[in-house]
């Protein structure tokens, strides 16, 4: 592969990885801290995109659509946490999987009922629509913007988790949930906050993706699978692990798709997942949970 092409593909992989990170960081915290396997995370991604498209169609304002999508999905996340997740804490993972899988089906149909089955369009905002000359190739500005925004979010998450009291509670909860309950932390509040934050991050991913991908019922299903692969590789409960694994999966998936024969590229990411499960089952950066 020519050097410029390789560089371009690495950039593509980076961008995919950063998008996956937004999804994976939220999900890994939910699974790690609350011990709740939330398959409906992909549906939150979808809801974020739908809410944003709807607001955009009504107001024409991209930033308003972004805000409304994030806030609206966080609220939906809180509702799901209150009514669906709370009764299932401490239950067998299989119960949680069955329940949240049902939520996926329900939300997909609800999206079809509300918005129809035809795909909706969200355009790239004009001030991001263009391309930039990088090493001789014209790379879309919008994709660079995704990388930048996701990197800022990653930095923000890092600062919150390592420098704030809340972050300390989150790390402690991921490491040993029973202990922090025993220490008198308001676990209900912490759980609700983590779930809502996860929902907000998923919504951000969905809204950033909307101009590139179609906004359609079921759009969260594929990315959920990639996200699950990422959190398994990265280590449940670890945001740093999610970052490392997202970049790894993003690059492997992209390079695999263009270098291997058709079909093999799509399943390549499951190879590192299988290897991790075999040799380091707790992931690259386990949170000692």
């Amino acid at each position: 592969m020519a050097p410029t092409l390789f560089f371009e593909q690495m950039l593509n992989g980076l961008q995919l990885g950063m998008m996956l990170f937004l999804m994976a960081s939220g999900l890994t915290l939910v699974v790690g801290i609350m011990n709740f396997v939330n398959l409906a995370h992909g549906s939150l991604y979808m809801i974020g995109a739908f809410l944003a498209v709807t607001v955009l169609m009504q107001t024409g304002n991209h930033l308003l659509a972004l805000g409304a999508g994030i806030v609206g999905t966080a609220l939906v996340g809180l509702l799901i946490e209150w009514f669906i997740a709370q009764p299932l804490y401490g239950r067998d993972h299989l119960d949680q999987v069955l329940c949240t899988f049902g939520i996926i089906l329900f939300l997909n149909e609800l999206a079809r009922v509300i918005w129809g089955s035809a795909p909706l369009r969200m355009d790239v905002p004009e001030w991001l629509d263009g391309s930039v000359d990088l090493a001789g190739i014209a790379y879309p500005v919008y994709r660079l913007a995704i990388i930048v925004v996701s990197a800022l979010v990653a930095l923000g998450l890092h600062l919150v988790i390592t420098r704030t009291r809340l972050g300390m509670l989150i790390r402690a909860g991921a490491a040993d949930r029973l202990m922090i309950v025993g220490l008198g932390v308001n676990i209900q509040f912490l759980y609700a906050l983590v779930f809502a934050a996860g929902a907000a991050l998923a919504a951000l991913a969905g809204i950033l993706a909307a101009p590139i991908y179609t906004v359609q019922t079921g759009m969260g299903d594929h990315i959920l699978i990639l996200t699950l692969v990422v959190i398994v590789i990265g280590g449940i409960g670890s945001v740093h692990g999610a970052l490392a694994a997202s970049l790894l999966v993003g690059v492997i998936d992209t390079i695999g798709r263009v270098t291997l024969p058709a079909g093999f590229g799509n399943i390549l990411i499951y190879v590192p997942m299988a290897m991790i499960l075999f040799w380091r089952p707790r992931g690259l950066f386990p949170s000692h949970g």
């Binding site: 410029t4 092409l5 795909p119 101009p211 359609q216 798709r257």
Partner: protein, 391 residues
Amino acid sequence: MKLASLFKAGVAAALLAGLGAQAQEIRIGLLTTLTGPLAPLGQHVRDGFNLAVEEEGGKLGGFATKVIVEDDQLRPDVAVQLATKLAERDKIQILTGVIFSNVAMAALKPAVENKVFFISPNAGPSQLAGKQCSPWFYATAWQNDQPHEAMGAHLQAAGVKKVYLVAPNYNAGKEALRGFKSAYKGNVVGESYPGMNQLDFAAEISQIRAAKPDAIYVFLSGGMGVNFTKQYAQAKLVSEIPMYSAFTIDAITLPAIGDAAVGTFQSNLWNADLKLPANEKFVQTFQKKFGYLPSNYAAQSYDSARLIAAALKLSGGQLTDKKAFANALRTAKFDSLRGPFAFNTNNFPIGDFYLLETVKRADGKVEQVTRKTILSNARDNYAGECRMATL
């Protein structure tokens, strides 16, 4: 005594009349895809067919018609169950509506076993055009390879030297590109087969840019096509490396793609602007009744209804004599929305294919405009393999 026998005669006559009226009702099963990401296609097919029946006041060809709609969910196992139910319980005489080839292949067996005529408004699998052709199966749109072949023929005739191909990694995708290559003899500089649910084509687009083809030919249906076209436009390649496609950009996906499709080319058997009186009327009536622009799927479905109507008229609404009705189907004349229509020996159509270009109107709306006829009276490549049995 006389009164009693008169009474009996009267009852007998009434019963016979009732039976006669019963036999006249045409029951048509419309088995199409109404859920899932490709549901809009089923919606167009259903609405197109219902429009034809409604225009005749609940009749086709002058005979009272009942249409029973079922959702195959794009699953062959569900399709088999529903086709069986429609044939055995609802006693349909005609099965139609099927969009996808895997569903068509599955639904054919119950149809044939129950002597039900299968009129496909879209699915045109190569097996049914060739070795497995059946006197019960009629395709009113195309054989699946044809729009790809048409575009291949166009690019060949236009002297395009280097082409890059993209299709999904499944049977129909590979067949599509084979169809393209059967007519295009230039240099294929690269092929990409993305996975069925892939959403992000940045990697494939980077490969295309590096391969420097003169044009690309794409077959990506539904959301995949929308995503690819948007991303291709975002990479600023539409004017640099023109995009030719089939089954990718149409009246259903165009609203979701928008401006990104401007400057791309498609091959199709129908377009809303075809200058035929029957077509102009159809587009107007359809839009007025359903509130959206019909796609070729709606037009194809409407055509299949008009064909059935013409055949019913020709055979006097008689569906018990299967041979006579089959004859009527093959010979009936109707005003097809696509232009000239006739059946080939394998019950697949002989028809025209057009080159469409997507343009932006002065009022900002994006639409497809017919540029020229690529193929006239085109026949599919598989007719030679068909040894049609007699009913």
